[in-house]
């Protein structure tokens, strides 16, 4: 096999492209620019950590099925863990979002990082919503019968039926988590690839 032939392989091209964009020292850095010195930076990693707890507690709930937590004190406790990890997730995510806005974190070719982050926020809202309507209790009855009017008014209710437990549960535990995790992964890889946005250069452009 000639070197040229190896160079033309899809695998070779993909590896070179990936390692050029994300060399190991960018993917797992051991230093960071000295301007990265604020508590606001904590909320990105907090969001990620909360997402892990959300997924872990959701997986435990999934083992025994959607009704388990109503009749088991352990199940109810796991549901409480799931609920509060979601609350922490959104709390951290919203602060992260506002922090990044006031840093204008899209500067320097980081627009797509912002876009993936914003879309992840929206997907997370939909994931949480489908969770609330899949609880199989009074809350899920009330929230779904109220929410149907908004979605139906757009025509979307014909395809996304919030009163259909099976459909909502599948979106909640399969489709939307996959979307959220993939988007989060892309977002983190973009942050690692481009680095954390530098401060505004005040002397020339802050006025």
């Amino acid at each position: 096999m000639s070197t040229t032939e190896v160079d033309r392989q899809w695998t070779t091209k993909l590896r070179r492209r990936v390692t050029a964009k994300l060399p190991p020292d960018k993917l797992l850095p051991d230093t960071q620019p000295s301007y990265v010195a604020s508590w606001i930076y904590v909320f990105g990693v907090t969001t990620l950590a909360a997402l892990m707890v959300v997924i872990a507690t959701g997986c435990v709930l999934a083992i025994r099925g959607p009704q388990w937590w109503h009749g088991s004190s352990i199940g109810h406790f796991v549901n409480s863990l799931h609920l509060w990890s979601v609350e922490i997730f959104f709390f951290a995510m919203v602060i992260h979002l506002w922090g990044k806005y006031f840093m204008a974190a899209w500067r320097g070719g980081r627009s797509l990082t912002w876009v993936t982050g914003a879309v992840t926020f929206l997907v997370s809202i939909l994931t949480a919503f489908t969770g609330y309507v899949s609880q199989t209790n009074f809350d899920s009855q009330w929230i779904s019968t109220q929410a149907k009017d908004g979605i139906n008014a757009t025509g979307g209710g014909a395809y996304f039926n919030v009163l259909n437990l099976g459909q909502m549960l599948m979106w909640h535990i399969v489709l939307l988590p996959i979307a959220a995790v993939v988007l989060t992964g892309l977002h983190v890889l973009m942050v690692r690839s481009k680095g954390v946005v530098p401060p505004f250069a005040e002397t020339s452009d802050a006025s």
Binding site: S34, A37, A49, V115, A118, D139, W142, G155, A158, A201
Partner: protein, 313 residues
């Protein structure tokens, strides 16, 4: 070739300063531990709400007149579902966004005939009811005009409907089989059989609760329970949940519009709120590309708080 001008809200200065040690794995591990401990603490202290779901059985036993009146509205075509329009039927145009009739264009993709689905079909499933069977046959062979006459007579008298000795009491004359229908359906609901009939109407295995949820939502019982828990639309609605829990606080902006004019006064309120939220959502995603919005961080200088150590130097 001329060098492109530096755009402060789009471009970032190249960092030529120093670096500090950073252990990303350690940071991630500590964050995970802290979040896990905080989650456990919140779950132990506050738990989570779990009010039992409302069943048709519970509703018909707790508020039989409300149930029977709702059943009548399903039969005579005046209930919320019967007059909804798309996606359940074509009995209303639905909401409009300007000239756009989005729901109507999509059509009745989840077709529901309220009288058939909520009243007649469940009654047909009751075994060994000779009077009911002949009444259903009488209904089937009657003309639309006769049916309407029966329903009008019963509906007029039903304003004084009571529930006495386990029976729905309405002093109606010339109402044909309607009194039997409403009373038998109420008995069926009180026994729990209607819950099963609606859930399994499309087969043994099901995960679709569209029919029973629509029926329950057409009555007042569910809404009264929600009002007592401060969950109705004018009480910031579905972003809340039962008890003193934060609920879906992240839906505050969506719910906010339902509290203010023109959205809370318009018959097209839902679609107007959704239209506005779609625009705002697109705006959030596209912030980096919107002149003015992307300049706010630089002009407000909030960033000086974030990077105060950097600017001190």
């Amino acid at each position: 070739m001329s060098k492109k001008a530096f755009r402060p809200d789009v471009d970032a200065p190249e960092w030529k300063g120093g670096h500090t040690p950073y252990d990303i794995i350690k940071e991630g591990t500590i964050a995970l531990l802290v979040v896990a401990i905080l989650t456990v603490a919140l779950a132990v202290v506050f738990g989570s709400p779990d009010d039992k779901a409302v069943t048709l059985k519970r509703w018909a036993n707790a508020a039989p007149v409300d149930f029977a009146a709702t059943a009548l509205s399903e039969l005579n075509g005046t209930s919320g579902t019967a007059t909804y329009g798309a996606p359940y039927n074509t009995n209303a145009t639905g909401q409009q966004l300007g000239p756009l009739q989005l729901a109507k264009w999509v059509g009745a993709r989840i077709p529901i005939n309220a009288a058939t689905a909520f009243v007649l079909d469940p009654l047909k499933s009751l075994p060994n009811q000779s009077t009911l069977t002949s009444d259903l046959a009488q209904w089937k062979t009657a003309s639309n005009g006769t049916r309407q006459q029966w329903m009008n007579s019963y509906t007029k008298a039903a304003t004084k409907m009571t529930f006495h000795a386990g029976q729905v009491v309405v002093n109606a004359t010339n109402a044909g089989p309607v009194p039997i229908f409403i009373n038998d359906l109420t008995q069926m609901a009180r026994s729990g059989a209607l819950d099963q009939a609606l859930v399994t109407s499309n087969g043994f295995y099901t995960t679709d609760y569209t029919l029973p949820l629509l029926f329950i939502a057409d009555g007042s019982y569910l809404e009264n329970l929600a009002t007592a828990q401060h969950l109705t639309g004018d009480q910031w609605g579905m972003m809340n949940e039962t008890g003193s829990y934060p609920g879906q606080a992240w839906l505050w902006l969506y719910t906010f519009w339902y509290q203010v004019p023109p959205f809370n006064q318009s018959g097209n309120g839902d679609v107007l709120v959704w239209g506005l939220m779609m625009v705002l959502t697109a705006g959030l995603i596209l912030v980096p590309f919107i002149p003015g919005v992307r300049s706010i961080p630089r002009k407000t200088r909030v960033y000086r708080l974030i990077w105060r150590e950097h600017y001190k130097q």
